[in-house]
Chain length 342, copies 2
């Protein structure tokens, strides 16, 4: 296993009644086979013990996780009023998942953890306890002091990375929400993220059209001409390597994918259909534009299979490995910068 | 090569200035390697000779094609006023491509050809000569006496088949055009086509949602509840095996694809993105609901590479092979029916 990072990854367990506790336990079980870096979970140990009989090593500080990692799953304990049953989410569990997220982000912000990997939460439960954000991403952005508009969600798989411009909107509202300014800011955040987090000096961004055949010269919609092309021109004028608008259906085959480092897509399913068709098991959700590294597995709480032992840890494995890679790149950059100053 | 069919496939060359002539010639060149059944092209031999120096066997009747096939590319000659240059479409070429299509359909209707495989046309050129249909599919439907609403386009690849409910519409107009009746009629045509053409006795149809997460219980759009679910219930009440509405992003990974024979999708890119991401080289466009078998390669005229020798014949190869398979199934059914009557 890799010990390249100076601090462990902080993993929020997500909803204690979901599959989060099970998949993190499976990751620890197979830490050598998966070549995983040390990590520390944050949550209620009873939610892990409910689905796994392996050893749990309670720690107070992530700095203890490295030594503990060989003996058990390092875990910073949260004191929930009562444990949740797998598959039966509760308001108490929502509080635990939010506390876990908040602590994980704080550890990464302070430098005690190298990066944050967030387990799946149940938004309905969070809304019930007064959570005001559309999702974990916006919460993390706020805790990092970054405006939500300046962070973007990237779905990253082995042969494709996609970034949606709009996300959880009814399809009927997508066209009305698209603006050149939004496409530009999402595109810029994606390009900077490719540089900073992925170490790509001159990233290439392929930008999709909205309509079939990218509007076919205006015959199948005018958003390409009026909104998307001006945004592409503006990004190009800043010196970025951008192309498009591309017909979305011919952007994602192997030869097309080789032409860009990420695809900027206009709506949720345009970005999510190809990544999940090609990389369902190992796609990772990465938040770009934050001062910390944050990844997440690309699946939900899966309450229907929680507690049955069926949850597949491969997306969390990919999220842990990518977080470690991105954090190591950040650490190296800091070391290089420090050396340059010395 | 297969000689299982009693008559050859009829292939319209499509626009003579596009890649149609080149890819059909490449198919004949590699007829043994690709194990292709006999076919007869219909078009201007000069458009083939402009991009290929192999032998052309002019025939008057498809019945001569079987014998001619070993010696050259069998071709029913159309007398265009002048040959088109590759990459330079013209009004004359549009007339030739329309004549070619009409003759190919007539041959299949009369039983002289086993099936029709249509080469790519340029819609703008066709519109310029007064073509009134949205595409070749609707033209073929009319020539077969079938209302356009009763035929559906299926994209068929080795591990996925998709059928769009709406096709060439601006994204912004999709939601307004969706009705339960339209979903039902497209679904029924898809299911009957899977039975008749693909020989699947009890076909399973997975029906997508329109919105992200299939609307998430109405929070991200209500079309699933108000339009799609009633259509699914109506099809199920007729005894069809239908499921959904499924979130579109989790419908197309390998395990999900194994659960259905075709996916019914709400709009163009929802159906086309996954099929082209997974099967860009060998997806075939199949028209279901016709009294004849019609397939087409899943690419356009590609005027930009016409005449350069770069055109890839693999989609036409797949279209020819699938047409032969579907036509053979039809012939077998007719033979079985005749035997039962005797």
């Amino acid at each position: 296993m890799s010990r390249a990072l100076s601090t462990p990854l902080a993993v929020s367990l997500g909803d204690p009644a979901g599959v989060g506790p099970e998949v993190i336990a499976k990751c620890w079980d197979n830490r050598d086979g998966f070549a995983l870096p040390p990590f520390v979970a944050i949550g209620d140990p009873r939610s892990v013990a409910a689905v796994w009989d392996g050893p749990i090593e309670l720690v107070d500080d992530p700095r203890q996780a490295d030594a503990a990692f060989d003996f058990g799953l390092p875990l910073i304990q949260l004191n929930a009023p009562r444990p949740d049953m797998p598959g039966h989410p509760s308001v108490a569990g929502a509080h635990t998942s939010l506390d876990s997220l908040e602590i994980a982000v704080g550890l990464a912000r302070s430098g005690s953890a190298a990066a944050v990997v967030t387990g799946p939460v149940a938004k309905e439960q969070l809304y019930a306890i007064g959570f005001q954000h559309p999702g974990q991403t916006e919460f993390v952005a706020e805790r990092c002091g970054v405006a939500p508009g300046n962070v973007v969600m990237m779905l990253a798989g082995p042969t494709l990375r996609t970034v949606p411009v709009t996300t959880h909107l009814p399809l009927d509202e997508v066209a009305a929400r698209l603006t050149s300014a939004l496409i530009e800011s999402r595109g810029r955040a994606a390009l900077r993220g490719l540089q900073r987090n992925f170490g790509i000096a001159e990233p290439r961004l392929a930008i999709s059209g909205l309509n079939p055949h990218a509007g076919e010269g205006g015959q199948l919609g005018r958003e390409e001409i009026e909104i998307i092309e001006p945004a592409i021109a503006a990004l190009a004028a800043e010196g970025w390597r951008v192309t498009g608008p591309h017909p979305a259906d011919t952007m994602f085959h192997a030869r097309a994918r080789a032409m860009y480092d990420a695809a900027l897509c206009m709506y949720h399913d345009q970005a999510l259909i190809p990544i999940k068709a090609l990389h369902f098991e190992d796609a990772v959700n990465v938040t770009l534009g934050l001062p910390i590294v944050r990844t997440a597995p690309d699946h939900g709480t899966a309450f229907d299979i929680a507690g049955t032992g069926k949850a597949n840890p491969s997306s969390l494995v990919a999220a842990l490995k990518l977080a470690a890679r991105l954090a190591a790149a950040d650490e190296n950059k800091l070391r290089t910068a420090a050396a340059a100053r010395a």
